[in-house]
C-alpha cells in the first residue's frame, strides 16, 4: 500500500515543488506586508512555522508506520518510518535554526530555555538518537524493531514533554489559535498557507525519494547475495 503512495507522490509532486517554493519565496519577500511591531524579521515566520509543523507531521508519520511495521513485519513500513524520520529531522533542524535567528533579533538571544524551544530540542534529540540507533545496529532485525519502538515511544512522549515544559516556563509567541493578536491580515494568512503547502509538498517528495532509496538498496543487497550464491553453484 505504501508503495502506491510512494509512486503517486513521485509521479505527481516533483513538477510542482519547485514552482510552489518559488511562489512562496516571492510572496514572502515581495508581496506580503511588513509586520508593524516586529518589522522585517517577522518574515522568517513563513519558513520557521511551516518547517516546525512539517517535522511534527513527519514524526507522527514515523510513529504510525513504525507501529504498522511491528504488527506486520513488512519491511516497506520500516522504510517509510525511517524515511519520515530522516526528512523530519531535516525540517526540525531548519525550524531550530530559523527560530534561533529570529530569537536573536526579537528577544536578543540565540536561545532561551522556553517551554516550546525545550520541547522541540528534546524531540530533535529523541529522533537524532533514532538515526544513531539505526546506523549503529547495522541493519539487523532487532535494531530495526527497536528503532520502531523508539519512534512510537518518542511520538507518545510528545504530549508529556509539552505538558512538563509548559508548566515549567514559556515565553514563545502564540500566533495560531490566539484570539487576541496573532495574524489577521489576509495577505499574511495566504502567504503562510502557501508556505505551509509548499513545505508539505517538499516533505512528501523527500520522504518518497528516501523510501525508494531504502527499498532499492535492500533489493540490491539481496541481488548481490543471490549472485554470489549463483556463481558459487556453477
Amino acid at each position: 500500500m505504501i508503495n502506491k503512495v510512494e509512486n503517486l507522490i513521485l509521479a505527481l509532486v516533483p513538477p510542482i515543488v519547485g514552482p510552489a517554493i518559488l511562489v512562496s519565496l516571492w510572496a514572502i519577500f515581495f508581496w506580503v506586508p511588513t509586520d508593524v511591531s516586529l518589522g522585517l524579521s517577522q518574515r522568517i515566520f513563513y519558513y520557521h512555522v511551516p518547517s516546525a509543523i512539517t517535522s511534527l507531521l513527519a514524526f507522527a508519520i514515523a510513529g504510525g508506520t513504525s507501529a504498522l511495521y511491528l504488527r506486520t513485519a513488512n519491511e516497506d513500513w520500516d522504510h517509510a518510518a525511517s524515511a519520515a524520520v530522516t526528512a523530519g529531522l531535516t525540517f526540525a533542524s531548519l525550524a531550530l535554526i530559523t527560530g534561533s535567528v529570529w530569537a536573536r533579533t526579537a528577544w536578543g538571544t540565540w536561545w532561551t530555555w522556553d517551554a516550546r524551544l525545550t520541547t522541540f530540542l528534546i524531540l530533535w534529540a529523541v529522533f537524532a538518537s533514532y538515526e544513531l540507533l539505526r546506523a549503529l545496529s547495522a541493519g539487523n532485525e532487532m535494531g530495526r524493531r527497536y528503532a520502531a519502538v523508539l519512534a512510537i515511544v518518542g511520538a507518545l512522549n510528545i504530549p508529556l514533554v509539552q505538558f512538563a515544559t509548559r508548566l515549567w516556563r514559556t515565553i514563545h509567541p502564540q500566533v495560531i489559535n490566539n484570539p487576541e493578536g496573532g495574524i489577521s491580515d489576509p495577505a499574511m494568512q495566504a502567504t503562510f498557507l502557501i508556505s505551509l503547502v509548499s513545505f508539505w509538498l517538499l516533505f512528501a517528495w523527500l520522504w518518497a525519494l528516501r523510501m525508494r532509496v531504502l527499498r532499492l538498496s535492500t533489493r540490491t543487497e539481496l541481488l548481490v547475495e543471490e549472485s554470489y550464491h549463483w556463481s558459487s553453484t556453477r
Partner: protein, 219 residues
C-alpha cells in the same frame, strides 16, 4: 518469572558489584557538584533536588544497562527467550530487578546526600521515598526497555544514555520539582501536576515496555 527475578537478585547479592559501583559513583557525583557549584547555605535548598537527581540518573544509566549484559556475555539470552514465560513477563521481571537495584542504591545514597547538604528531612522522609520510588520506576522502565537495544549496536553501552536520556527529560523535570516540594515539607497532595506527570510517565513506559517486548525479542 519469579525464578528470573530470584536468579538476578542472587547474582547481585553474591557479587555486589553493580550496587557498590553505583554507590561510589553517586557519592563522587555529589562531591563533584560541591566543587563545580560553590553552594552557599541559602542556595542549597534550591539546587539540592537537581543534584540528587543528576547523581541518580547518571549512576542508574550505568547500572540499568547491565541487566542484559550478563545474559549476553554468558550466552543465556536464547535460554531466557525460550523459557516458559511470555516475553512481556520477562520485561516485568527484569524491570523489577532493576527497580530493586535502584531502590537499594537510593537507600544508600540519600542519607549521604542529606548529610552532605545538611538538609532537614525528618517528617518528610516517607513522602520523599514515594517521589523517589515513582521516579525510579520511570528510570528503570526506560532503562530496561532499551538496554537490549543498546547491546545490539556496535557502540554497546555507550548507546543507552543517548537513547534514554532525551526520553527521560519529562520524568526528570517532574521528579526534581516533586522532590523540591517534598523537601519543603509539602504533602503528596501538593505535588499537583508534577505528580500526575510522574505517574503518567510510569504507566506509559511500563505498558509500552511490556507490550513491546513481545515484538522485539526475535532471536
Amino acid at each position: 518469572m519469579l525464578a528470573v527475578i530470584w536468579k538476578d537478585i542472587m547474582l547481585e547479592s553474591r557479587g555486589r558489584e553493580t550496587i557498590s559501583a553505583l554507590f561510589v559513583l553517586g557519592v563522587v557525583i555529589l562531591l563533584i557538584f560541591n566543587f563545580a557549584v560553590d553552594v552557599g547555605s541559602d542556595e542549597i535548598e534550591r539546587m539540592a533536588p537537581g543534584m540528587l537527581w543528576i547523581a541518580i540518573v547518571l549512576s542508574a544509566m550505568l547500572g540499568l544497562g547491565r541487566i542484559f549484559l550478563i545474559e549476553k556475555e554468558n550466552g543465556c539470552m536464547t535460554a531466557l527467550v525460550l523459557s516458559p514465560i511470555d516475553r512481556g513477563g520477562l520485561f516485568i521481571a527484569k524491570l523489577l530487578v532493576n527497580l530493586l537495584l535502584l531502590i537499594v542504591f537510593e537507600a544508600m545514597l540519600v542519607p549521604v546526600f542529606i548529610l552532605l547538604f545538611d538538609l532537614d528531612v525528618g517528617a518528610n522522609a516517607l513522602n520523599l521515598a514515594v517521589v523517589l520510588g515513582a521516579g525510579s520506576l520511570g528510570l528503570a522502565a526506560t532503562g530496561t526497555l532499551f538496554a537490549l537495544a543498546a547491546l545490539g549496536t556496535r557502540a554497546r553501552e555507550l548507546m543507552l544514555p543517548l537513547i534514554v536520556l532525551p526520553l527521560q527529560i519529562p520524568l526528570l523535570i517532574a521528579a526534581v520539582k516533586a522532590t523540591d516540594i517534598v523537601l519543603r515539607s509539602g504533602s503528596l497532595a501538593d505535588l499537583g501536576a508534577w505528580g500526575s506527570i510522574l505517574a503518567a510517565f510510569d504507566v506509559i513506559f511500563v505498558t509500552v515496555g511490556w507490550l513491546a517486548f513481545e515484538f522485539i525479542t526475535v532471536d
